[in-house]
Symmetry: C2
Subunit: 579 residues, 2 copies
């Protein structure tokens, strides 16, 4: 099934549709967004300039009911880092875009200031519409209004007030299968890119559209097998569904790597109160939903719908990174409080992770006391209304550190870290420092590796291999949580690609593709002004021992310098010329 | 006369004095601060880390009464740019340090948080003292108190409240011959480096010390000749003394290069109200002082003491960059208002230039109306008390742009531009983009060149040559305003070096020294993570035509890329191994 590339120019309000060029025809998701950014945009342009594109691409395999294979990527020059950014999420966007035959949606230009536009995609074509009554509206109200007007079956990608304010921590939100706008293209400030263009919403109406895999019979076999394997593994078959992503929290805390009070400690004395067990018990006891699938057909179902003591919906889904960074990192030990902050961030449209790191810096500066939930809530509300303090928080952790003279800022390339302190989980420091995206855990989630996380000498090669694998998964649209099956039995991935797209590809070539994409992203950053000197963790992590275990980040600069020396690795070596 | 290097470690409260190493013995000022930073500090360290040094060095020729030859350099890793920074000023610091035989003062370490220390230098030695009652004190009150305690003949270098708050726009202040703390190491946030160390004041007591030139007779001859030449030139002999640095304002305005309302125009309709003529008439009419020398013995005397309508002192000295950036750039057309803002900035200890650029960005964002002086004054006061808005302003123009989503931010490498728009004065764009310091006009003040300022093809070579010359002057401690004589008659510079230090050097070798220093600074930045991609002006200046003349900055990237290709220039080529 051929895929189209939809180009929307919001300056001229023009739409151009064409088949995806042949040389991009085997790319999807992250591979496609990053390649388009490198090849067809100026890495030196301002991220908020009209010419800077915002690209959406469903993963290459998107469109079917295959479990955990409908991730959607968004890519742009990041207003937060100044480098390339890909952020992907679940929900229904990828599935619906694929059903419409859309392989890439690229938005350039900008509407006149104060405009509030939607791009509507359906079988009837692409239209640009004014949303005159929606400027400044929260994400939840926007979703409700648009679903009322357009029907409950639509998929939405939304820009919140923070994006309209062009804040560097603004995310984009996507609706989940129930229509809740709680799946986020979270990191790197992509909401600000949309906001600068006057783009409030993308409406995806796939009514009457269907997607046919290349080989339906083979696809049915593959799907059955893949589903069975996911169900058979204790993590993907049971633990994610019960405890959500928070299942890792007590483990990270045991390892002494849970960011606590602005990364000043790695073990939170109240960790049990925000653990996966507690999350499960709370949701179950109150009649909320655990084992929720963020994408149609997902059998892992790590998502949840958190409810209050009366069983009323609060937010879906309460996840580990948010709990760690808006919880332990701020000295907050109450899931109800974290859930409320999460909902607030979602509604404003800001990244919960960057917000948690930024607020940690402010607490260290004495702006508020650790654990002061009402004050934290008020400050996040200030982001939504754009007070100076709100705009500072919305500028991210590094800006907060600059403004308050704080040197303990857990960020790389301008982006705050995820909820794993790399002094305790050192492979994560390799990921944070080497990813072209800044400190993204999803670039190579080293906590999953079977290595001694405290040994600086054993991290580099396995983490690099993980980056290649994850880059491939991000390109295919597979959730990285499938890794325990998809990476353990790569023949299943080969079968999925063949059955869905007709491309007979060896897994090793997919790793080679991952390598190519990673190098393209790095080249983009090089052109944008990054140098290898920025592939480092912040200095304090190399100096300050992290209580209670006392580790520093000591993977040597020389070892880190080997990361992009692919020839010297055990990874793939040859170069493919054509994707 | 041998010079000493004084190392002060504020962590251990230790002082080590030694003779300047032989290989540094022919360096002073910028050449010495930059060389010490490159060779003996970690460019990857956080600028506010205790280990990051703050270095002071009088120019190589400092210590005598030779006109305009007592500039003092301060150098550190810039909290504003993240790169190397040298900022120099007049006043009495260099003269007094030289009289004490001090060639370099290097401060490392940090006192415990909340400390407020002074370093006292005198013939009796170096001491570190607590200033318990001075934390948070304004620059003027600090100077008054310290002069009361230590006598009126001392020289002072002071850190203001902004530096104590570690704001990236915090400057350091030095006293002028009358003891007014109005000479600033203005740019790059060096005040924050001092503040992070707990260093409030450097007290320089040179009582009973004197400095002897190497060859007193030759020095007397040279001094007589140099003075006569300065007096004979209409600019250095008369215009600077009458109109101050503001003499250039109407010229820049005529060229269409006066930053107006956040660099959205290059001609200010009310320029005459803030011109050099008006400044002269105002000061003269009110009984203030024009033709004031910021350094003892200066015959150029571009400085002034601005007074209010009743003749009471307001601020010394009101200068072009401040008038341009806190005046025209904010739509303020009143010298009394600009002088009040200048005094306020001086007292808080922030760079008037960065503050003007940052406020221009906020005005464009709609935070206040152009020309709203009371609001501007209130906002600068907020910097002094550290409100969130104040801290944002104190973070500089780029942080303000990020927080408010403004793309028109006139900054390079994180530092705001001086009061020359490079779309009208294109050589200045070469300087801004290529200087390792960010957008410093003093790195190569292209307005002084006899070229067509609008022709993009004729800027590079003369501007590069200017950088070499100015780097040499900054190393010798000569004010760049001597250029009309010192660069026109380089034999006078050779004679000065020989008479004062005994070093027989050709001017061409001094240019070679300038080249070496510039390359050392660039190497520092490379190690700190800068790449040539950052040697560019902000994108909007290449795109948005500047009214009324309609120029864009169009010196091509290829042309700019030649800047550090010294072999291809008409400049010096050989390498000297030893300074």
């Amino acid at each position: 099934m051929s895929r189209r590339m939809v180009d929307v120019d919001l300056s001229g309000r023009r739409v151009v549709e064409q088949d995806l060029p042949e040389d991009l025809s085997r790319l999807g998701g992250r591979g496609l967004t990053s390649t388009l950014l490198l090849l067809e945009s100026d890495p030196c342009a301002h991220p908020l300039a009209p010419e800077s594109p915002l690209v959406f691409a469903p993963g290459l395999l998107a469109g079917t009911g295959l479990s955990s294979a409908n991730r959607c990527s968004a890519g742009a020059k990041s207003p937060l880092t100044g480098g390339i950014k890909e952020s992907n999420c679940g929900g229904t966007a990828a599935l619906k875009l694929a059903r419409l035959g859309i392989g890439a949606l690229r938005i350039t230009g900008a509407a006149p200031k104060g405009s509030c536009l939607s791009v509507r995609l359906s079988a009837a074509g692409v239209s640009i519409e004014e949303l005159p009554d929606m400027a400044g509206a929260g994400i939840y109200a926007s979703a409700a209004a648009l679903r009322q007007r357009n029907g409950e079956r639509i998929g939405l990608i939304l820009c919140g007030p923070a994006g309209e304010m062009r804040l560097p921590t603004a995310c984009l939100s996507a609706t989940d299968p129930e229509g809740e706008p709680c799946r986020n293209f979270g990191r790197g400030g992509l909401g600000a890119v949309a906001g600068a263009k006057g783009l409030k919403a993308i409406i995806i109406d796939d009514a009457s559209c269907r997607f046919s895999p290349h080989d339906p019979a083979a696809f049915r076999d593959l799907m059955k097998c893949f589903t069975a394997e996911l169900k058979a593994h204790p993590v993907t078959g049971e633990m994610f569904a019960k405890f959500g992503t928070a299942m890792t929290l007590m483990n990270v805390n045991r390892l002494g790597g849970l960011p606590t009070r602005n990364f000043s400690a790695g073990r939170f004395e109240s960790a049990e109160a925000i653990s996966g067990d507690r999350l499960y018990e709370t949701i179950k006891g109150r009649g909320g939903q655990y084992a929720h699938g963020c994408m149609p057909g997902c059998v892992i179902r790590c998502s949840n719908k958190y409810v209050d003591p009366q069983g009323r919906p609060v937010v879906g889904s309460l996840d580990f990174e948010t709990i760690g960074l808006l919880g332990a990192n701020l000295g907050i030990a109450d899931l109800d409080q974290v859930a409320e902050l999460n909902k607030l961030c979602n509604d404003i449209g800001i990244d919960t992770m960057e917000t948690g790191v930024a607020l940690g810096v402010l607490a260290e500066a004495g702006v508020f006391a650790w654990g002061d939930f009402p004050r934290v809530r008020d400050m996040i509300r200030e982001v939504g209304i754009g007070t100076p303090l709100g705009r500072l928080i919305g500028s991210g952790s590094v800006s907060c550190g600059r403004a308050y003279g704080i040197t303990r800022v857990a960020a790389v390339k301008g982006q705050g870290m995820a909820a794993y302190d790399p002094r305790a989980i050192k492979g994560m420091g390799v990921t944070y420092s080497q990813s072209p995206m800044g400190a993204d855990h999803t670039a190579g989630n080293a906590i999953t590796l079977a290595v001694d996380h405290t040994d600086p000498r054993v991290q580099l090669d396995p983490v690099r291999e993980l980056h290649l694998k994850y880059t491939a998964l991000d390109t295919l649209g597979f959730c990285i949580f499938t890794g325990r099956v998809s990476l353990a039995k790569p023949e299943l991935v080969e079968q999925a690609v063949l059955a869905i797209t007709g491309w007979k590809v060896a897994f090793s070539d997919l790793l080679e593709l991952g390598r190519t994409i990673l190098l393209r992203e790095r080249e983009y950053n090089r052109r944008a002004g990054f140098s290898p000197a920025q592939d480092r963790l912040p200095q304090f992590m190399e100096r300050e021992a992290l209580p209670p275990n006392g580790g520093v980040f000591d993977v040597s600069p020389e070892e880190l310098g080997r990361f992009y020396d692919f020839e010297g690795s055990s990874g793939p070596k040859k170069t493919l010329g054509h994707y």
